[in-house]
């Protein structure tokens, strides 16, 4: 029960931060203050909050779980590629969006798109696509909170109650604190993440009797040695993953965060230290996930390995449902928790549990971003702000926060978690596919609203098509692929154990390339915005 008490203390601390931010902003009922903290975040808070908002539950729980089953490939797939691509996009796109926001008062990406391309309802279509891909994050955050509290309290806190507590806490500090509260909580959480990795590595390493013997033993075991390499992964798949981090800058909550910096120079530290922060969190988690395979005294881990072995050896002869069941049994999302439970003292497990809690509560920025988008892109755009005033706009944003949290909580109780995990998997590809919108708006005078509409419609269609394909064609056993469509001996469309392949690449590659092509071709064929608008964006810039 001690770890659960520590976690509750942590939840009380983040709630207090949100209320403190509210008191700091007392009297200000301005949209820019509530939704963007008056564009006043300093360098330290800007770095850690921008980084923290990009670190979801997957950073700690998912990365170690993925590494447990797939080995060291996890780090190259998701961390080091992000360490290059994300700061690069913040450097190229984030700084420009910040400058345009400062000059023209934009608070959301859609406001900028509407102004840049002189459009109205096309902006609403982009809003709808972004919102539809963002909601699953909020749902999965609540589910993660419920599951974690249940595990930390050894079942004393039921899932429904844990989820309700997490939803209430997140909703409260976003409701009261707005962007300022969210940024401060994210900063606090990121510091916890960073400490978490180092402490977990030391404690578990000590408990296991050092990593040297574990690593050597894995190297000498034929069944485990491949986890120290990437031989089970296709280079096509590995390459495809470098497209996924393009999603980061296209996420509305990240772009909105870019608008909160006080000065452009605050991007400098964020851009430089981003790869180091990613490494500091992911390296210990991936390493521990791989090393968990050598643990012999935790029955739950042995059961997962056994399920993995059965799936690999007998999977081909099984029914799809049996394979899905074994996949679920072998999933390693809780290996870090199991390692901590076994090797860390109770109070430390609680502290580290709070770190994990911080990771699963990263849905705060998405809730606030959705609220900002709704009030600015829908409520204000369709006349609400001019009719009722700015104070009502902020109150509408707050009511929206309550409604979206309630909706997410109710859905989280009803639907199986795997649905939303899949939705997030598609959403990453979807947001990466939306990235040509930003490149076109900021760097190409010739881009048009029809090009933007083509990108948005293509993205929505591609995400739905991949989802339907994966729901219709069952996943094959590990090591095998189901070729659905081949052309002259070339695999065009394949169902793989982990998803879908198009010409052996992940769907994100054709999605981004087709998206960029559509932006180019459709823009060439349609009418450009007025010269005044183009001069507003490119007249005095060096683009």
């Amino acid at each position: 029960m001690i770890p659960a008490i520590v976690v509750f203390l942590y939840l009380a601390a983040v709630l207090y931060i949100g209320i403190f931010a509210f008191r700091r902003a007392r009297g200000k009922e301005e949209a820019e203050d509530y939704f963007l903290a008056s564009r006043s975040l300093g360098p330290f808070v800007f770095l850690f909050s921008l980084f923290g908002t990009n670190m979801t539950a997957f950073a700690i729980l998912g990365s170690s779980g993925h590494a447990f089953n797939n080995g060291i490939v996890t780090f190259g797939l998701m961390a080091s590629s992000s360490g290059l691509v994300i700061p690069l996009t913040i450097f190229l796109v984030g700084t420009r969006v910040w400058a345009l926001g400062k000059k023209h008062g934009f608070m959301t990406p859609v406001q900028m798109f509407r102004d840049r391309w002189e459009c109205s309802h096309i902006g609403t279509v982009i809003f709808a696509v972004q919102a539809a891909m963002l909601v699953p994050y909020i749902i999965i955050g609540i589910m993660g909170g419920g599951t974690t509290l249940y595990a930390i309290s050894d079942g004393a806190v039921p899932f429904w109650f844990g989820g309700a507590i997490v939803a209430m806490v997140v909703m409260s500090y976003v409701f009261f604190g707005g962007m300022r509260g969210t940024a401060w909580v994210n900063t606090f959480q990121t510091v916890l993440f960073l400490c978490f990795g180092a402490i977990a590595l030391i404690v578990i390493g000590y408990g296991m009797g050092g990593f040297r013997s574990a690593a050597t033993a894995m190297q000498n075991a034929p069944a485990l040695a491949p986890l120290l390499t990437r031989e089970r992964f296709s280079p096509y798949y590995f390459f495809s993953y470098t497209f996924i981090p393009l999603s980061a800058i296209a996420f509305p909550h990240i772009l909105i965060f870019c608008l909160t910096a006080r000065k452009i120079t605050q991007f400098k530290k964020t851009v430089i230290f981003y790869p180091i922060c990613i490494m500091a969190i992911w390296l210990p988690c991936v390493f521990l996930g791989v090393m968990a395979n050598r643990v012999t005294d935790i029955p739950e881990i042995k059961a997962k390995q056994e399920a993995r072995r059965v799936l690999a050896t007998q999977g081909r002869t099984m029914e799809p449902e049996q394979r899905d069941q074994l996949r679920e049994q072998s999933a390693g999302d809780d290996v870090i928790m199991l390692l901590l439970h076994r090797y860390a003292p109770l109070w430390l497990a609680g502290l580290l549990g709070a770190g994990i809690m911080a990771a699963v509560m990263a849905s705060d920025s998405q809730i606030l971003a959705l609220s900002t988008m709704f009030t600015e892109d829908v409520f204000a755009f369709y006349g609400g702000k001019s009719r009722f005033g700015e104070a009502v706009q902020v109150q509408t944003g707050r009511i929206f926060i309550i409604l979206i949290t309630l909706f997410s909580y109710i859905v989280a109780l009803q639907a199986p978690e795997t649905i939303f995990e899949l939705a997030i998997q598609y959403a990453f590809s979807g947001f990466a596919s939306l990235s040509p919108l930003l490149i076109g708006a900021l760097f190409w005078k010739g881009s048009t609203k029809w090009g933007a509409l083509a990108v948005a419609v293509w993205t929505a269609a591609a995400v739905v098509a991949v989802a339907i394909f994966q729901a219709t064609v069952p996943a094959p056993a590990p090591g095998g692929n189901t070729i659905v469509w081949a052309l002259g001996g070339t695999e065009v469309l394949t169902r793989t154990p982990g998803g879908t392949a198009v010409f052996k690449f992940m769907p994100v590659v054709p999605m981004v390339l087709v998206s960029a092509l559509l932006m180019y071709v459709v823009s060439l064929a349609t009418q450009k915005p007025s010269r005044t608008t183009i001069a507003k964006y490119f007249g005095g810039t060096h683009s």
Binding site: I72, V73, G76, P87, F211, A215, Q219, L228, I276, F287
Partner: protein, 78 residues
């Protein structure tokens, strides 16, 4: 620093991410870190160094000037 050199550095680092040369090696560095993991940790440090080069030699300072100018114009209009 020449901007073309910086673009080349970005492309080279992107290509170096695809380290097919350590694909099948389970060699351990310092006796416990698999070489493929060690390589990508070094890659992350190299990415941070590249970002430092970009920030130092290709910083979009014109954006800052434009914002300041716009704010002066806005203040003047008031």
């Amino acid at each position: 620093m020449n901007r073309i050199l910086l673009v080349v550095a970005v492309v080279v680092l992107y290509l170096l991410h695809q380290d097919i040369w350590f694909w099948r090696s389970s060699r351990l560095v310092f006796g416990f870190i698999p070489i493929g993991l060690f390589y990508h940790a070094c890659f992350s440090v190299a990415a941070a160094l590249l970002m430092w080069l970009l920030v130092t030699f290709a910083w979009p300072s014109h954006l800052e000037r434009e914002v300041e100018q716009a704010q002066h114009e806005e203040d003047g209009a008031r």
